[in-house]
């Protein structure tokens, strides 16, 4: 009975999303004069590249317009509300001053570098370095329609299971070996470190932090409500290929990755989903990752993959800073008082909880038992460090 409602919601979402996915490719919203899937380094450097990028510009323009619209509407609503109007300007206006920030941590710098490098590899890698390792499948959402990917992404065959088994057995073997190998080795650290869609959302979040815009804070109930949508998407992702459609028809990555690689393609519904994802990612960090089907599948393996979030339950003061910081809304990380391993199926290993943890050694990220990153009081207070004269930093 408890799950009945969730199952019903999941099936409704499944049918709706499935229908969209099934017919998505029938409605191109923008078509280039010639659909040209070939690309080369020369093309990237020529003016043709700009015309090929038009769908991307449309997406970026719509995203920006959408975000501005939401902010303006929110401000108008706040102004109209008697209670909130007083702080409407303080909350939504442009601000002078900066919040105190802790000094940059190497972990975050490393994470961003890896994400950006991998995005380069996934989009232009094949063009620059050749296709030597293209047989390897990495489970990320980076579009394999972009034939110039240096490594291929597992998402293609996972959403085309019917095609997978028509391949020669060597290919099947390599596909499974590399996909499962990566999942075992890295787990959902792939989401936090490699995934280009994750990078795009992180960039949107950075923009929000820079502009000091108020985000949308989800609470426990809302995070719970997302679960049916996640399961519906997993079903669509794996199952739709047997019904003749497939997830790629409306996958948001399909609208961006090939275009960036210089292929002239049309803009389908997927492009508008990308707009939605970028907007959602702006107001709520990593919004898509909450429902990402590939991530959910990888989450099944969180108990055996090497990356872990560990907690020293003795040091924790249950201040909830980790929960506030967590883009995936994992509450267990601060309420847990018994287990050392607090890795959850939803954890994308972004390290944000550790960065925001004010207790020494309370949280740490380990890989095969080796500590990679540990929380520290000193680091979190580094933004408040006084200058040489002993006065607090203004």
């Amino acid at each position: 009975m408890k799950y009945l409602k969730k199952i019903v919601i999941a099936s409704v979402i499944f049918i709706a999303v499935g229908a969209i996915a099934y017919f998505a490719y029938l409605f191109p919203f923008y078509e280039p004069e010639t659909s040209d899937f070939s690309t080369s380094i020369e093309k990237l450097l020529s003016a043709d590249y700009l015309t090929a990028l038009i769908p991307l510009f449309i997406i970026i323009g719509l995203t920006a317009a959408g975000i501005v619209l939401v902010i303006v509407l929110r401000k108008a609503l706040a102004k109209a509300d008697k209670k909130q109007s007083r702080f409407a300007d303080a909350r939504t206006g442009r601000h002078r001053g900066n919040v105190p920030k802790q000094k940059p941590v190497w972990f975050m710098i490393l994470r961003w570098t890896i994400m950006i490098v991998f995005a380069f590899i996934a989009i232009w890698g094949g063009l620059i370095f050749g296709m030597g390792i293209s047989a390897l499948s990495v489970p990320v959402l980076s579009c394999p329609w972009n034939t110039e990917e240096m490594t291929s992404s597992s998402c293609y065959y996972l959403s085309h299971l019917n095609e997978l088994f028509e391949l020669p057995w060597q290919s099947i073997l390599i596909f499974f070996a590399s996909t499962i190998g990566f999942i075992l080795l890295l787990g959902r650290a792939i989401c936090g470190f490699l995934c280009p869609v994750g990078l795009m959302q992180d960039i949107m979040d950075k923009n929000r932090q820079k502009t000091k815009t108020e985000g949308i804070k989800l609470n426990e109930k809302m995070y719970g409500a997302v679960t049916p949508a996640r399961w519906a998407l997993v079903l669509v992702f794996i199952g739709l290929c047997f019904a003749g459609g497939n997830f790629c028809n409306f996958c948001p990555a399909v609208a961006v990755s090939p275009v960036l690689a210089g292929m002239s393609t049309s803009l389908y519904i997927s492009g508008f989903l990308m707009v939605l994802i970028l907007m959602a990612g702006f107001f709520k960090r990593r919004a898509f990752c909450m429902v990402c089907p590939l991530g959910t599948i990888m989450g099944f393996f969180h108990k055996i993959s090497l990356f872990r979030i560990k907690k020293d339950t003795q040091s924790c003061t249950e201040c909830g800073a980790c929960y506030e910081a967590c883009p995936m809304g994992i509450k267990m990380i601060y309420t847990e008082r018994e287990k050392v391993n607090v890795t959850s199926a939803n954890c994308i290993m972004c390290g944000e909880c550790i960065r925001c943890c004010p207790e020494d050694k309370a949280l740490s990220m380990t890989c095969a038992g080796i500590k990679l990153y540990t929380s520290s009081r000193k680091k979190i207070m580094s933004g408040y460090e006084p200058d040489k004269t002993g006065r607090y930093a203004k």
């Binding site: 209670k83 909130q84 007083r86 702080f87 303080a90 909350r91 206006g93 601000h95 002078r96 001053g97 900066n98 919040v99 105190p100 920030k101 929000r208 932090q209 820079k210 000091k212 815009t213 108020e214 985000g215 804070k217 609470n219 426990e220 109930k221 339950t313 003795q314 040091s315 924790c316 003061t317 249950e318 201040c319 909830g320 800073a321 506030e324 910081a325 601060y334 008082r337 944000e352 925001c356 004010p358 009081r377 000193k378 979190i380 207070m381 933004g383 408040y384 460090e385 006084p386 002993g390 006065r391 607090y392 930093a393 203004k394």
Partner: protein, 436 residues
């Protein structure tokens, strides 16, 4: 006519007696604290502050025209008050003289802290109370609720509802209350709270917490680096000093402690039993318990009281750079890490105690209960059980601001310390270390 003059005279005499008694007790405890050996360099600003407030009976240090906002409990975020351009002052009182006045106003079973507050407000003689433009009173217990009503007769107050649990909905509700509080603060001070002023408020309090983290880190390294009574004086005076001034003063103490570590100096060469003090707040001048512990040959190596370490320990972690993000951080800090027994499920306090015991190598716990402080008394049983499992002896000391039970307390504390000494291995003859 003569009747009213007579009355006036009586009032004047009463007031004079009150002031005399109040300043005498405060001066006495200050003297006892100063007489205690091993104070680090740089303690003067803290002594001066306590003296200024309780002996000289003056206002707190502030810029001319700056408003003072009275607060109680750790749940009122000082960041907001600094952001509105005012100075916060914590009004939880430990004063015996005011307590005895308050006994006639508040019911017999009310806690001494509340009686003392009522007493101060009744006499109208304490400048830090009279100076407050508004008092912010988080309702953490029944006594606080009723004192809020009592204070509202003579002073502008704002109550804040403290939820019984710390779920997401409770945090959201508290955020709404913080916005209400900001509105009140803006009305009182006439300043707007902006993004810039709020982040500067964060910087001020953050700086104080930065120095406090450093202080506690140093204290942990070597259990005998500073006496608990001195630490208590430092932490108590944070209630009456602007956060940045306090932080700067603490910076000097930290430097002195670092020097001690480098020179391998400690407050004593003997192996003193290390005591953890927890329970009801210990507020100057009611510091008889830490003083007794240290005069009887123990050392207060850790404290888990809301006027002590706990009150300032948890920083507000900004996870969102927006204005609302900062308010969220404040609400989150005020409720989630707070081991105040006002919350229904407060098991995190036990974990906190265990952590303190481990970090400070605690050998015994003294559980201080102010008579009438039911919420703290309730938790004693559970804590005694849990610490019993660790083999840490605990005693419960019930007391109020009265000095009459001091001999009885002395005997109990002495016996407790002797018990710990018996348990620990006999001291080996070691080379005499330099001490003060």
């Amino acid at each position: 006519m003569t009747e009213s003059i007579k009355h006036e005279n009586l009032k004047q005499r009463q007031d004079k007696r009150f002031i005399n008694k109040e300043t005498q007790t405060a001066a006495k405890y200050l003297r006892r604290m100063k007489e205690l050996s091993g104070a680090p360099e740089g303690m003067e600003p803290f002594y001066d502050t306590l003296e200024r407030i309780y002996v000289d009976m003056e206002y707190i240090e502030k810029k001319p025209g700056q408003k003072t906002i009275g607060t109680y409990c750790v749940m009122t975020p000082p960041e907001l008050i600094y952001a509105s351009g005012a100075v916060p002052v914590k009004l939880c009182s430990g004063n015996y003289t005011a307590f005895s006045v308050g006994e006639n106003i508040a019911p017999r079973d009310a806690c001494p802290l509340v009686k003392a507050v009522a007493g101060f407000k009744q006499t109208g003689l304490m400048p830090i109370y009279e100076d407050c433009s508004i008092m912010v009173i988080p309702i953490t217990c029944d006594c606080k609720k009723k004192i809020a009503g009592m204070l509202s007769d003579s002073c502008d107050i704002m109550t804040m509802h403290i939820p019984a649990s710390r779920n997401d909905d409770d945090i959201d509700e508290y955020i709404r209350q913080l916005y209400d509080l900001m509105e009140r603060l803006e009305n009182v001070t006439g300043n707007r709270i902006t993004y810039e002023s709020l982040s500067n408020g964060f910087r001020k309090v953050g700086y104080a917490q930065y120095e406090l983290s450093e202080f506690i880190r140093l204290k942990k390294q070597l259990p005998y680096l500073i006496r608990g009574s001195h630490a208590m004086a430092i932490l108590n005076s944070s209630s009456y000093m602007p956060a940045d001034v306090w932080g700067r003063a603490l910076h000097r103490v930290n430097a002195a402690l670092k020097k001690r570590i480098a020179e391998k100096k400690t407050v004593t060469s003997k192996k003193l039993p290390r005591i953890l003090l927890t329970g009801s707040p210990i507020v100057f001048p009611n510091i008889k318990i830490p003083l007794l512990i240290e005069e009887m040959g123990g050392i207060v190596a850790g404290d888990e009281t809301c006027m002590g370490e706990r009150g300032l320990w948890d920083p507000a972690v900004i996870t969102n750079d927006s204005f609302d993000g900062m308010i969220r951080a404040l609400a989150n800090r005020a409720l989630r890490p707070c081991p105040c027994p006002t919350f229904a499920d407060n098991s995190q306090r036990i974990y906190r105690l265990k952590q303190l015991i481990k970090e400070n190598q605690i050998q015994g716990v003294i559980y201080h209960v102010l008579r009438g402080c039911l919420v703290y008394d309730h938790e004693y049983k559970r804590i005694e059980e849990e610490l019993g499992k660790l083999g840490i002896p605990v005693i419960r000391l019930e007391s109020d601001y009265n000095e009459e039970d001091i001999e009885q307390l002395r005997i109990r504390i002495e016996a407790f310390i002797e018990l710990i000494k018996l348990k620990q291995a006999p001291e080996k003859a070691v080379a005499v270390r330099r001490s003060f």
